[in-house]
Amino acid sequence: MEYLEIIKKLEEEALHPKKSVIKEIKETGKKAIGCFPIYTPEEIIYAAGFLPVAMWGGNTELKLADKYLQSFCCSIMRANIEYGMKGDYNMLEAVVLPTFCDTLKCVCENWKVAVPNIPIVPIVYPQNRTIDCGFEYMEDEFKRVKDEISKIANKEIKDEEINEAFELYEEYRNTMREFVEVASDYPQIINLRKRHLIIKAGQFADKKRYTEEIKVIIAGLKKEELKPFNGTKVIATGLLSEPVEILDIFDENNIAVMGDDLAQESRQWRTIVNDNSGNVWKKMVSRVADQRGDTFFYEYMKSRGNRLIEMVKDKSADGVVVFMMKFCDPEEYDYPIYKQEVEAAGIPILYLEIDQQITSYEQIRTRIQSYSEMLMMRR
């Protein structure tokens, strides 16, 4: 299949997650397990023979979820509860939920009552990740989750299987790192909408098939002629850049994303494993322990601002776009700190407060277009 056709196919898959997951279950013959954001250890689920699929909410009308999550809760979690209660997740054998924030902690308990037909496996990450006891705890926690998944699978999960799944996921992560690099060279082909949807499609697909497809896209792009881009270039940060209609406004204004610090995108694969012990559990732990600049992991000296500044310099970008998920406390707490650092470096920030149920885009359109006009006039 031509790489452009693969892109088209992946875009469709990302736009229709439920349909895509059902199709993937049918084609792979695997059962699926849902993964709440963020950093669910998918390797364990994959090793058990399941298909791990992401649960990043969606643009659905919220009717049932209000019973458990009020209007001032993060719209991703409200959407997940809504989908669960409506039965849209009935194809899932279980869900795994990392309890990173207050809302996630509550959702863990709410889920048991609201969606009793789908078992939930919580995972509690340590905040003190870099000290020995934090490291040991995290390894134990991963193994506990393995035991829980093992019970659901009704089979033992061997370390060799975990190792094999981890290697596949490492290949996926390496490929995605390369993809976002190559994509930034071809903004005329991989615009914001395409970039986001291509990445998102991987969250509902078997990583083996998906990684091969991304490799074809990378190879296809590399054969294309490099053309100068006359629009504005930005770095994106936040949880996720949705709804996709917002990305269309960026594309209309000829704005390209050169790199991202989004939880749904590059934060999933940017940390390179720095462990030579040969032990797969330690490798998995080190990926989490070495993650920096993430709002959900405690850091004594927050490095997110510097990371964004370096990304802007590295890509000769014009600014930073903040996709602020409304009512996401951890992201909101980080914002004043990195805003000050990024602006002190002379980098203009566009702050967009978003939720997944937006239906009117006019004010956002004005903000994005004004930002683009401002950056163009600075040249």
């Binding site: 006019e362 004005t366 004004s370 006009e373 401002m374």
Partner: protein
Amino acid sequence: MYLGIDIGSSSSKAVVLNEKNEIAGISVKNLGTGTDAHKEVVAEALSNAGITEEYINYTVVTGYGRVNYDKADRQITEITCHAKGVAHYNNDVKTIVDIGGQDSKVIKLNENMQVDNFVMNEKCAAGTGRFLEVMARVLGCSLDDLSEMAKKATTQISISSVCTVFAESEVISRLSGGESRENVARGAHIAIAKRVMGMCNRVGYAPKVVMTGGVALNEDMVDVLSNELGLDIEVLPNCQAIGAIGAATFAHDLYKKMEADNNAN
């Protein structure tokens, strides 16, 4: 001649500039996007300038209705146009406070009078002209009379609700409790000023500060905001049409650039 049209949420404005960048025609109507007011203001501005449409070399449209207006040569946002419009009058402004019908904006300018940074209110109507419309209705006066009423206030009362809907019921409670309409009107202005003050702090304001948009016509509102910011706020002539003036100035500049590029080729 050059035409600038600003189709706002609650008013429409049109300005015709001549070759010397002088205002040759101007029109403002208090009906916004979704109506035919933009056609009326264009007709009136052209008539004021003593010309017909065919004498217009270039048209720029701005405001909320800009995206759906397909007769312009270019559409530019009201934030960029307000900066340009302010520069038409004054070259040492650092901060623009634009309170319109549906949203409010604070725009920070650089030394070239270009947008350096900006903030807009979030989706709700708090801190916008809409808030004042609701207050005027509850107080039983017209929007134009709100300023005079507030000037007669004898004490400062605080309206604590940020949300326009909750503020409306809070105001009704105040009036039922015997508070004077004048004091409540002033309280509404203070509520907006506090909201705008927050936006000014976010963007980092500096003098000179000018106020544009329809709410700048409300003298008491300008005074209250000046007190809140601790500096004098200047209100420019044609404050409601600053966006349209900026759009017309862009029309002039873009046409001249296009002409120069054509001559160079």
